[in-house]
């Protein structure tokens, strides 16, 4: 349907009468001339009569066309698309252009992304706005609605709006299109122009639209009487995907855990792969990369609208390891950004332990080190802990270099020289020392020999109950207070704590209340069971009972094994770290360094420094806004010292899995949410989004006029 922006110019069509009058004038007023050679005039005229007549008619037509084209072009006609009829109103409209800049807009069809298409459509829509229509633009991404401080009031500064659109880039964030439309409607309220229109350019993914939200309303004008209702704007949603299905497979979650079956430092990476398409994806290749190398590959079938898990295993190097799970790229179309997910895993280093057996026995089960050796056996630690057992005499003469942990099990008070070697190992090399007691331990001799190596001096040996005697079970001591948050006990969930609490201890050492030490666990009578003390760069942990069944039944309980393994790792400073909690793009992550250090710099996934802020309460911490997916690394240092990378603070920011689900919203429901078909339309292109303007025809008319002018000139010159 044809419409005109300036219909008054149509009066110019009356000027068509001019060439007609000229034509008639030329036809009716020839000058008479008696001419001698009329025969030749007659012959020429006869020869050319038909062509001349045709030319005259053509000239007349071209001149009429020229005037008509100019008059029509000035009236700025446009072809109104059928689909948006209901959304049109007469007169100029303040227009808010909402450009969806969420992650899903990075979806690629061929080589062009939905965002690029949407941006081009938005620019076209801007060009088509009338000169009396103010415009504002907003990039819809992130939980807060618009990025970059929201949408301003519509203005006539087209240049600024155009620049903003031209420089717009898609984000990695999720979007809330419903919130953006509401914010755009609010911004439109600041324009005095009566007509209000929102044109949103989006992929119309269902996850970005809340169908239960109220429709966007433009607030009433400031001078409106109180209680005036809001104005319902015309909303045109331009579908960047043009109603086509957007099949997509994505890695939506990654879990990394040790795998004993893979040997020392063997890990399995479990990737959850989602398929938002309507067709099952078969034989999708999944790769596991560590650094630049692909270390494992597999294939997975993902059902339509479903998920599948794929486990890939690899042996990882010790330290902080960054890796990535990747899907094979779909060349034709897809969202490339969610085809992979990074992860960071803190792989503990190998530990070398020396078990000093204070009470060896020929019967293995009676050997003091039996349970400890069993707990640290390679089969149970994945080969991560290499333990060597020596008796007390051999140990006293053996060099302690190279051992990360030395475990003294029921060793009689060692010679002072050996005690000094232990101290040196702890203080200088950071070695850990675990001391378990037993019948060979004389408290006074121990206090004398080990001195400040002991967290607290031994006082005396307390017998709570005699093993095997009547009522032993009731009288035996139990673990009372346990610091469950400590690395030693962190492995116990609430359900598993019973296994530790049920252990019975019949005899244990009481300690003198001297010295500064940290009690990790104590018996139900309050006596320390496990007590720790830092020693230089190392630590000393004292267990006040035996590591064999002599004084306690703990070694035969399931809970003994993880605690001992954790203890060795803890003392060797090679504790299997809790994997960093996953972060999501769009969130903020607070990085807290160790006491006395300060986060100086944070490097983003591209290796460049990313901005962060500090909070007054924790000036050494860094609060990092996460704008892009991938690994983030922190450089920390005490004040005034060159910062170095702190691997334990490394983490990965992932994408919002919602954005990988590109299922489209139901159009009928969407229109209903936006206020019905009267004010909401879904269009396939910016031309359809033009509302009152439709497809402009004036440029074509001007071209037609120019062609008519050229034709007229060519004909008259002949």
């Amino acid at each position: 349907m044809l419409q005109f922006a300036h219909p008054a110019y149509l009066w110019g069509l009356l000027a068509i009468a001019l060439p007609i009058l000229v034509h008639l004038f030329n036809q009716r007023r020839p000058r008479p001339l008696a001419f001698g050679a009329i025969e030749f005039v007659l012959r020429s005229q006869r020869q050319k009569a038909r062509r001349l007549r045709l030319r005259q008619i053509l000239l007349l037509a071209l001149r009429c066309l020229l005037i008509a084209a100019v008059a029509l072009a000035l009236a700025r006609p446009s072809l109104k698309p059928r689909g948006v009829e209901a959304a049109q109103t007469s007169g100029p409209q303040a227009t808010a252009l909402v450009l969806d800049a969420s992650l899903s807009m990075r979806y690629r069809i061929g080589t062009r992304t939905l965002f690029e298409k949407a941006r081009a459509e938005a620019l076209s829509a801007l060009e088509r706005l009338g000169p009396d229509e103010p415009a504002a633009v907003g990039l819809c991404a992130g939980p807060g609605g618009f990025t970059g401080g929201g949408m301003g009031a519509p203005s006539f500064d087209r240049l600024a709006v155009r620049r903003l659109l031209q420089s717009a880039q898609p984000t990695y964030l999720a979007s809330d299109l419903t919130g953006c439309l509401a914010a755009a409607a609010k911004a439109l309220g600041e324009s005095p122009v009566a007509g209000k229109r929102i044109i949103a350019f989006s992929d119309l993914a269902a996850h970005s639209i809340r169908l239960d939200a109220p429709p966007p309303l433009v607030p009433p004008a400031a001078n409106a009487p109180p209680g005036s209702p809001g104005i319902r704007p015309n909303v045109v949603l331009v579908d960047a995907a043009r109603a086509s299905d957007l099949p997509n497979a994505a890695v939506v979650a990654t879990a990394v855990r040790p795998s004993a079956s893979l040997g020392p430092r063997g890990y399995e990476v479990v990737a959850t792969i989602a398929n938002s398409g309507t067709q099952m994806v078969s034989g999708l290749q999944v790769s596991l990369k560590v650094g630049p190398n692909t270390v494992a590959k597999g294939f997975v079938d993902v059902p339509a609208r479903g998920t599948a898990k794929k486990t890939l295993g690899a042996v990882l190097p010790p330290g902080v390891v960054g890796g990535r799970v990747e899907l094979a790229r779909n060349e034709a179309q897809g969202l490339d950004e969610d085809d992979g997910q990074d992860f960071v895993v803190h792989v503990p280093r190998d530990v070398k332990a020396l078990i000093v057996d204070g009470a060896p026995a020929s019967l293995r089960s009676r050997d003091e080190a039996f349970f400890v050796e069993a707990a640290l056996a390679p089969a149970r630690t994945g080969g991560r802990i290499h333990a060597q057992t020596l008796d007390a005499d051999a140990a006293a003469n053996a060099p302690l270099d190279g051992y990360d942990v030395i475990l003294l099990l029921n060793v009689a008070a060692p010679p002072k020289a050996f005690a000094e070697k232990l101290r040196q190992a702890a203080v200088q090399r950071g070695a850990g020392i675990f001391i378990a007691l037993g019948d060979h331990v004389d408290p006074d001799a121990y206090n004398d020999s080990l001195g400040d190596l002991l967290p607290r001096p031994l006082h005396l040996i307390k017998t709570a109950a005699e093993p095997g005697a009547q009522g032993t079970e009731e009288r035996a001591a139990r673990f009372g207070t346990v610091e469950w948050a400590h690395p030693l006990f962190r492995v116990f969930g609430p359900a598993e704590r019973e296994g530790l609490e049920s252990a019975r201890t019949f005899r244990y050492a009481l300690l003198k209340p001297e010295g500064q030490a940290h009690t990790l666990a104590s018996y139900d009578d309050g006596a320390p069971a496990l007590i720790e003390k830092p020693m230089g760069r190392g630590r000393v942990l004292l267990y006040t009972s035996t590591a064999s069944r002599t004084w306690t039944d703990w070694p035969i309980r399931v809970s003994f094994l993880p605690v001992l393994q954790q203890t060795v790792s803890w003392l060797a400073d090679a504790l299997e770290q809790r994997q960093p909690l996953p972060a999501q793009v769009g969130e903020e992550r607070t990085l807290t360094p160790v006491a006395g250090a300060r986060v100086e710099k944070v490097l983003g996934p591209d290796g460049q420094a990313v901005p962060f802020r500090r909070e007054t309460a924790h000036p050494d911490d860094a609060v990092v806004p996460l704008a892009a997916p991938g690994p983030y690394r922190a450089l920390v240092a005490p004040r005034g010292v060159e910062p170095r990378e702190e691997p334990t603070l490394t983490f990965v920011a992932g994408l919002d899995p919602k954005e990988s689900d590109l299922r489209r919203v139901d159009e009928a429901e969407l229109k209903a949410q936006l206020g019905g078909a009267e004010s909401a339309q879904v269009a396939a292109s910016s031309a359809a989004a033009q509302g009152a303007h439709g497809t402009p025809l004036w440029s074509g008319l001007l071209l037609l006029g120019a062609l008519a002018l050229l034709g007229e000139g060519a004909l008259t010159r002949k």
């Binding site: 030329n26 036809q27 007023r29 020839p30 000058r31 008479p32 001339l33 008696a34 001419f35 001698g36 050679a37 009329i38 025969e39 030749f40 005039v41 007659l42 012959r43 020429s44 005229q45 020869q47 050319k48 001349l52 030319r55 002949k718």
Partner: protein, 300 residues
Amino acid sequence: MTLPASNVPAVLARLGPLQVQARKVMEGVLTGLHKSPHHGQSVEFSEHKEYAPGDEIRHIDWRAFAKLDKYYVKRFEMETNLRALLVLDVSGSMAYGRGPMTKLQYAAVCAGALAYLLSRQGDQVGLCLAGDGGISPGVREFLPFASSPSHVQELLHILEGAQGRGPTLLPAALDFAAEKAGRRALVIVLTDLFDATDRSIPALKMLRSRRHDVLLLQTHDREELEFPFDDPTRFLSMEDERQIEAQPRQIRESYLQQIRSFLESTRKDLARADVEVEQIATDAAPDRVLLKLLARREAA
């Protein structure tokens, strides 16, 4: 028509020293500068010709018969006066001309000048006005051959009174002229040759075929040659009721092509028939045109 008589003396003053000479031998009754084409009555022997039946027996050279035993007839050359007939087209189209002179006026000046010259050297001059009927179909007026000054005056008087009107009837006038010329004569035809019937050219050829020396002075107005009109024009025929409205700019190219073709074909056609053609625009000075013409004929 008023003959611009003042032009004639001026033209004559330029032509005076020249003598008009016919290119070919003419039969004449007056002895003069022109060689007579008639054999048999001259005093000057020309050649022998073998006798053939029909030849006059009195011209047989008996001396030659005695020597050669064959009959030969003597042939003689005899100088004679020229008979020139001026045929002037006085049709309507000859009245065209928006410059100083119409085509008819221009042709009349040329005719008058030639009559003066011819009579001054003793040649006989006649005049035939080719136009709508007067004394005969196609002949409005005819003045027989004579060479006296009074004859020339009369001829000029007729020229002065000639009016351009009516259709071109040149073929009939040329037939009339051929008949009146009798023996070989110089026939000077002054016309624009705008003949709707296309019979004028054959008539000129016929005249030549009767062994007359034919000179065509084809006169045109400059506007007829260049068609310099721009405004829409209703062209009216000067010889009949025809008229046509045209945009001159639109047909100029075609018109020029046609008239050039007409002039070219006329010239070539008549040249093949041994008719001398001089195509003249009326803005050219008549004396220069005649001087050039006579000089060329003298050279030939």
